[in-house]
């Protein structure tokens, strides 16, 4: 039995990360994610880990990749402007296959926007922010306890697939305080990166066995002196200009997420079994949506909620199946319709799709979602 504590979402993110084995954090102050840096600064040296406040967002992302290459689980956190700055090195982590976790506590508007106001408008940026075809795993929590649990899951997936994982939080959940039960550390499933069992001096550090997607990894300093690069490389880890070899690498990077989507994708379905109208939403918006669904049920409307916990890869199969059973889907999100694009792509003409969005930095109320469930135009 764990202990129950009052905790903020951003704080739970740090505690979950530490439980997952995070022992390195590099970051730069930015609202509304700053508490993640502050809590890491307090907590990491207590557990023998390292915290560093870097000179900017770019170097924070770089230091995290460096630390992970040295064998330490590492995380950074930011928000809109800082998340934009991290994109180049995020792509480096994708191609060099360096596990790490990047938290984006979303805030409102483009550029400096509304720094203290909630938003969910980085959905597409989290998928496509860095250049070139690349894999991406993005996960979004809707409560403080879930933030704790999913921070662990982010690390587990990053380690398992040797890829950066984006923890797409929002200001609603980041600054929310809830009483949560901290699970017994022994009850947690912690995954570590696949480690090369022996150091082969002339081995192929990026060799992947037939039918597998992830090369084993040996941290720097442990006897296999290999090369890491952001250039297209072959299994030796050294750069190649050969189209066949480059294509093989790029395809494998995409396939390792795509072909493992069943392991990666998680959704929550609330009262969907008999539902006629279902709200599709994620993150902090789900809190208002659940209330709206219950109110609708009280009024005799068979309502439900479908919440992608894994945003990318998007839960297409799950949503498609649901869309064949329901009459209406209401997409609710704190942006101008980003998840909506995915929903329309997947649902097609299976059912009606309606939308409620919010882009002014205010929070959507259950009443507003309820009126959409009821079919108000």
């Amino acid at each position: 039995m764990g202990k129950t504590v009052l905790m903020q979402g951003n704080e739970a993110c740090v505690e979950g990360a530490i439980a997952a084995g995070m022992r390195f954090y590099a970051g730069y102050p930015i609202t509304p994610s700053t508490e993640i840096a502050e809590n890491s600064a307090v907590r990491l040296p207590q557990v023998g880990g390292k915290f560093i406040q870097m000179e900017d967002e770019i170097s924070s992302m770089a230091a995290v990749i460096g630390a992970s290459a040295a064998g330490v689980k590492a995380m950074t956190a930011s928000s809109g402007p800082g998340f934009s700055l991290k994109q180049e090195n995020l792509g480096y982590a994708c191609i060099a296959e360096i596990p790490c976790v990047i938290v984006d506590v979303q805030r409102s508007g483009p550029s400096t926007g509304l720094p203290t106001s909630p938003s969910q408008a980085d959905v597409m940026q989290s998928r496509w922010g860095t250049h070139g075809d690349h894999p991406m795993i993005v996960i979004s929590p809707s409560s403080v306890r879930e933030t704790y649990d999913l921070a662990i899951r982010c690390f587990n997936l990053a380690e398992k697939y040797r890829t950066p994982v984006i923890f797409l939080m929002d200001e609603i959940v980041g600054h929310l305080r809830e009483g949560i039960e901290i699970p017994d550390p022994k009850s947690l499933e912690i995954i570590n990166r696949p480690v090369r069992r022996y150091a082969k001096q002339n081995g192929l550090p990026y060799h992947v066995e037939e039918g597998k997607y992830v090369p084993e990894m040996l941290p720097f300093g442990q006897g296999q002196r290999y090369h890491i690069t952001g250039l297209a490389h072959n299994e030796s880890g050294f750069p190649t200009n050969d189209n066949k070899e480059a294509g093989k690498l790029f395809r494998r990077l995409l396939d390792k997420v795509k072909n493992n989507r069943d392991d990666i994708v998680q959704v929550e379905e609330v009262m969907c079994e008999d539902a006629d109208a279902v709200v599709v939403c994620f993150g902090g918006t789900a809190r208002a949506a659940v209330t709206a669904v219950k109110q609708a049920r009280n009024r005799g409307i068979k309502a439900g909620m479908f919440r992608p916990i894994t945003i990318w890869p998007f839960p297409d199969k799950e949503l498609e199946a649901l869309s064949k059973k329901v009459k209406r889907i209401v997409v609710a999100e704190h942006n101008d319709g980003q998840i909506l694009l995915e929903v329309q792509r997947i649902v097609k003409d299976n059912c009606e799709v309606d939308f409620i969005g919010r882009i002014d930095g205010s929070v959507m109320t259950p009443r507003e979602i309820l009126s959409k469930i009821e079919g108000a135009k």
Binding site: M54, S59, Y92, G223
Partner: protein, 281 residues
């Protein structure tokens, strides 16, 4: 004895390197290997970190733990590696554009922090990989493809910049001054704190040709004939130093090293926690 060094510290299967005939980078890379050899460092504990540009290809040729990172960010990657595992000997190899233009912020902050990494700059006064654009160390008045009428900017003194930002070891070498430069790199690696060795390279292909500096040999001769030792340079006027290449140790001071200080913090918190536990709090 170069071939012995090559066999011991290079990856012969990835040679010859991509650098142009007459480029100074090969000599400087050799100096880094020689310094490591002189110090008898454990191969497996050395990490070479590079950014993007001609100089950055050195990482791929050297048989250590090597990481070729993004443009300008080598010091930031190196900071993560060193802090995560302070036992590693982390050496950054970077060019002048890499370290003082796009990566200038990381240079000054790593110097200020005094993190125990060694930065060796292959300073060829030009962006070579992209074909000869002027860099922050292109002297005023000199030409590049993006300074077709002569560079208007003032140029950076990289070692001086790092020293000003708090680097506890800063030196200048050159591709001509092999013995001295190797010794400075060696001192830099031994130094417990942030070290930088700004090494004048030569780029006959772009910088030399654009500015009519003659052949690679002529450019090396220029380094030989115009070098002034640091001790002498401090007594010379700015006018007298014009066109000179100052060689030597600019700064060598002791200041607490970042990762060692962080370890002290971890140890202190650990002791305090033990005490609290003993007292049953």
């Amino acid at each position: 004895m170069a071939s012995e060094l090559i066999n011991k510290y290079m990856r012969p299967e990835h040679l010859p390197h991509i650098w142009c005939p007459g480029c100074g980078n090969g000599i400087l890379m050799r100096n880094v290997a020689q310094a490591i050899d002189n110090l008898g460092l454990d191969h497996d504990k050395v990490v070479i970190v590079s950014g993007i540009g001609c100089s950055s290809r050195a990482a791929g040729y050297m048989d250590f733990n090597t990481i070729h990172t993004t443009h300008g960010r080598a010091i930031a990657f190196a900071t993560g590696i060193k802090l995560a595992n302070p036992e590693l000997e982390v050496i950054v190899i970077a060019g002048d554009g890499d370290i003082s233009a796009i990566g200038g912020n990381h240079l000054i902050h790593a110097a200020r922090r005094n993190i125990g990494i060694t930065v060796v700059v292959f300073n060829n006064n030009i962006y070579g990989m992209t074909g000869g654009q002027y860099s922050p160390t292109t002297p005023r008045g000199e030409k590049g493809t993006t300074a077709p009428y002569g560079n208007i900017d003032r140029s950076f003194d990289i070692a001086g910049l790092a020293y000003g930002a708090g680097a506890s070891f800063a030196a200048r070498g050159s591709s001509y001054h092999v013995q001295q430069t190797t010794a400075y790199i060696q001192q830099g690696i031994l130094h417990k704190g942030f070290s930088i060795i700004d090494c004048a390279s030569v780029c006959p292909t772009y910088y030399g040709r654009k500015n009519k500096k003659g052949s690679a040999v002529d450019m090396m001769k220029y380094q030989r004939d115009n070098a002034v030792m640091q001790e002498k340079a401090v007594q010379m006027s700015a006018e007298e130093l014009k066109g000179k290449l100052v060689i030597g140790v600019l700064a060598h001071t002791n200041y607490p090293e970042f990762t060692a200080e962080y370890q002290k913090l971890i140890d202190r918190l650990g002791r305090e926690a033990e005490e609290r536990e003993r007292e049953g709090k």
